[in-house]
Symmetry: none
Subunit: 341 residues, 2 copies
């Protein structure tokens, strides 16, 4: 497994982003490791604000910044020219460039030379290790929980981090397993599952959450969605390779369509649960749904708790808002169910 | 162009092969597209004979050959020096080199320079083109049929080729869409879907079968299986990107477990059909099963036709053996169903 060692503090490149959905990398870094963040670099027109100081490359470099971190994920991975100008300036100033994009920094004409001359590194956190195997599908010891959803950018990483924290708070032996750029930046290691060659998706998932002590719990960050017209392959391969004993559905009651794919309606919650159960049984017949992680922030304040209670009554599952309440109820459910086995 | 495209006619490199098993790519090319084959290049000791003219590189080049196609898998995986001598000679003569080998042609010392000087291309059909998009999931005109199965190596390529031929024989406007190396060499173009980076599987499938005349039918070669512990991600992404109007299930009545994964039983045929319908509806609500392509070769000769008839009675679908009978019944079903729309 690759280990990524990043050099703080970070200047987070936001560009002209106006949709926070696509700034989830930067938002996650600020949320989970604020002590590593020096500032943000925004262009005119950017509506996203991380709540950290705005800085130019020159200002950050003068204050001892370690890395320019590309904190925005453009759809399809195409990087605007305005970003390349900033990246080049930062490399010339000696900042490491940390990227989670599909395109490799070293493939940019001249950038590798500029970085080398300034003793800066080009760090692609999404480059998977070589030699990943095809999934073998064999059962392995230890417990695994996967966060899933009907869409992307709906809380799978956050929920996994919150559940991992709650499990640890309850004394469980838990590891957070990162599958995406932000998670890898937060955890310091992981496997960029959606950058793996298609034949090796489930094999990579097996490598990510290896055999462990029977009482150990891996909390695996989900990617994509089996219902997503662009990313379903990633999601199914990740689930089959993870062989989850349980999954948590991340849910936004106000999201009606796939974010960025407005011609796709999201399936009902019950269908999300049943389809994951049906497909997940292929590699782990004991798979079960452990709870629903709901983003209630869009509901009126006095409607949030009733919504969670109604959902819990309908599904018979712990329903929590991981941001507002934390994931303790789901952690308790997981520990209780796994203890009986 | 984001598809692999080959330049006919071909000179097929057979080497000293004496076992037809290892020449199945070359045999498939001659079987399905003899019009693209100029000749074969065999060394002393070769027992495999494709039934096409023997030729040297010089003879083929003088007659306007487009590509030297490596139609054999070397035993043990190592490419013999005798092959490299021929490959180098062909590149120097201006022939494209087409390879499905694990080793990349450009990694061979000096070969890239020789090819460049002769305006020849080194084409690794296992290497997907750059610039593939994320799947957008938008409906597109034209009809699409995907071959699927509960396992790999069970007839998806053969069935797609047979169905394409049957559609053409019936006067339909059909294109075979190749997703694997042999299929790409046969079709002269395609996309190696299992070598694509995970995020772009369905996008690659969209590129492979683009918008077309409403009456046009793409027959898409399936890869992997949504039930396969190693390759389910490839299969689901391919199905979602293909947006098939119909699918054909390839079935072997004597295969009980996943080939090479003996701890996985194959699901019942009915479950194979229902699961593909349920998941395929996500990007094409009109998806239907058009028939079953059965490998009856393992059954006693007098049991084959009764088996097909029983299966047809059980499923209400045309059930054929594409090798023994051909795919006309499924082609007629597809044309009939598509005509009513």
């Amino acid at each position: 497994m690759t280990r990524v060692q990043l050099k703080p503090p970070y200047l987070l490149l936001i560009g002209a982003e106006s949709d926070a959905t696509y700034a989830k990398t930067a938002l996650g870094i600020v949320q989970w490791c604020p002590e590593k963040v020096m500032g943000q670099l925004r262009f005119d027109g950017a509506d996203v604000d991380l709540g950290v100081p705005d800085m130019s490359v020159a200002e950050a470099a003068a204050q001892g910044c370690g890395s320019l971190v590309i904190g925005v994920a453009p759809v399809g991975g195409t990087v605007p020219d305005s970003w390349w100008a900033i990246i080049t300036e930062a490399a010339r100033a000696g900042l490491d460039i940390v990227s989670g994009l599909h395109i490799r920094l070293a493939d940019r004409d001249g950038l590798a030379d500029i970085a080398r001359n300034a003793h800066a590194r080009l760090v692609d956190v999404r480059v998977p290790p070589k030699g990943l195997p095809v999934g073998n599908g064999k059962p392995r010891t230890g417990k695994r929980i996967l966060t899933v959803a009907a869409d992307c950018a709906i809380g799978k990483k956050y929920t996994a981090l919150a559940l991992h924290r709650a499990l640890q708070d309850l004394g469980a032996d838990s590891t957070y397993r990162a599958t995406g750029q932000t998670g890898i930046m937060i955890a310091g290691e992981g496997l960029p599952i959606d950058a793996v060659v298609a034949d090796f998706i489930s094999g990579a998932a097996e490598v990510l959450s290896p055999a462990a002590d029977p009482a150990h719990i891996d909390v695996i960050e989900g990617q994509g969605s089996i219902f997503h017209p662009g990313y379903s392959g990633v999601a199914l391969g990740l689930m089959h390779g993870s062989q989850p004993d349980g999954f948590v559905v991340c849910h936004d009651p106000l999201r009606a369509v796939v974010s960025g794919w407005p011609h796709y309606r999201l399936p009902p919650l019950e269908e999300v649960i049943e389809t994951h159960l049906a497909l997940g049984r292929r590699t782990n017949p004991a798979i079960r749904c452990l709870g629903i992680a709901v983003n209630t922030s869009g509901l009126p304040a006095d409607a949030r708790q009733p919504h969670l209670e109604q959902l819990a009554a309908e599904t018979g599952l712990p329903c929590i808002d991981p941001v507002a309440i934390g994931a303790e109820a789901i952690a308790r459910n997981a520990i209780g169910q796994f203890l009986t086995e």
